[in-house]
């Protein structure tokens, strides 16, 4: 695919990340802020909260969407940096194939975790 298309996706993925990662940050890491907003969540990284989110279709879908968008955005940005180091033709192909394989593998692994988590929660009686 040509750089114009890849770059356009990179910007689009950035916009998706902005919304989803913003939500993620507030929910997971800014519990004090949530408290101001009147949401007194239990410890967000506690197993009960994790199991509850794993069972929610909304959270599962947004996890997978955020995972895909963030991996694409990050790996395309990394590819930019590597390409600007002026590698030779062979190294360019290695970078393209290597980053695609690693990115897809991480996506597959993360998606598996998101889909398998509800099962783990049910088994544990969560």
């Amino acid at each position: 695919m040509r750089d114009r298309t890849l770059w356009t996706w990179h910007i689009g993925a950035g916009a998706v990340i902005l919304v989803l990662l913003g939500l993620h940050m507030v929910i997971m890491h800014l519990s004090g802020t949530l408290g101001f907003l009147g949401v007194q969540d239990a410890e967000p990284t506690g197993w009960a909260s994790v199991a509850a989110r794993a069972g929610s279709l909304f959270f599962t879908l947004t996890y997978v969407a955020l995972l895909g968008a963030a991996l694409y955005h990050g790996f395309y940005g990394f590819r930019n940096i590597l390409m600007e180091l002026n590698p030779g033709r062979t190294v360019r192909s290695v970078i393209n194939v290597g980053l695609s394989v690693v990115g897809l593998a991480l996506f597959a692994f993360g998606t598996w975790a998101a889909l398998a988590a509800p099962g783990a929660a049910t088994m544990a009686g969560g």
């Binding site: 950035g14 004090g32 940005g77 991480l106 692994f109 993360g110």
Partner: protein, 144 residues
């Protein structure tokens, strides 16, 4: 390109610049560094959080490993990098899609450039990122 004289390309030193270079050059460098840091963290984050698929024991064990003041500090640095990268990313998106660079103008001395035109936006980005990072700091360390 075949070399025709003595090579004089600046190399990576040319990325960092420094000293006499403009304000936006530093934001360019910081955007790159924060992006790389976020990518490294994100890759580790995928592995750490995936332990939830194994079961509560694995999850609790992992969480106990990644807790403590050192990890909280590390997470906070990632949050600060995110704050800058996100706010500056909005600026870059607006600029690179041609919305925040202004229209072509007649170049009359002293020249006005698109870089000067978005300088206020760039300053606002730094200020907003600082405020977000400060807010995050209060949440991470004070309101907890």
């Amino acid at each position: 390109m075949q070399t025709r004289g003595h090579p004089n390309r600046l190399g990576i030193r040319g990325w960092v610049g420094g000293g006499r270079w403009g304000f936006e050059r530093y934001m360019y460098t910081l955007h790159r560094l924060s992006g790389l840091a976020l990518l490294v963290y994100f890759t580790m984050h995928i592995f750490v959080t995936s332990t939830r698929a194994v079961g509560p024991d694995a999850w609790k064990q992992t969480m106990s490993v990644v807790s403590g003041p050192l990890f909280t500090m590390g997470e906070y640095l990632v949050f600060a990098a995110f704050a800058f990268h996100a706010v500056n990313g909005i600026r870059l998106g607006a600029i690179e899609l041609g919305f925040a660079v202004g229209r072509p103008i007649e170049p009359v001395y002293p020249y006005q450039t698109s870089v000067g035109g978005q300088r206020r936006l760039a300053r606002a980005v730094l200020m907003i990122a600082f405020v977000v990072a400060l807010w995050g700091g209060l949440d991470f360390f004070v309101w907890k």
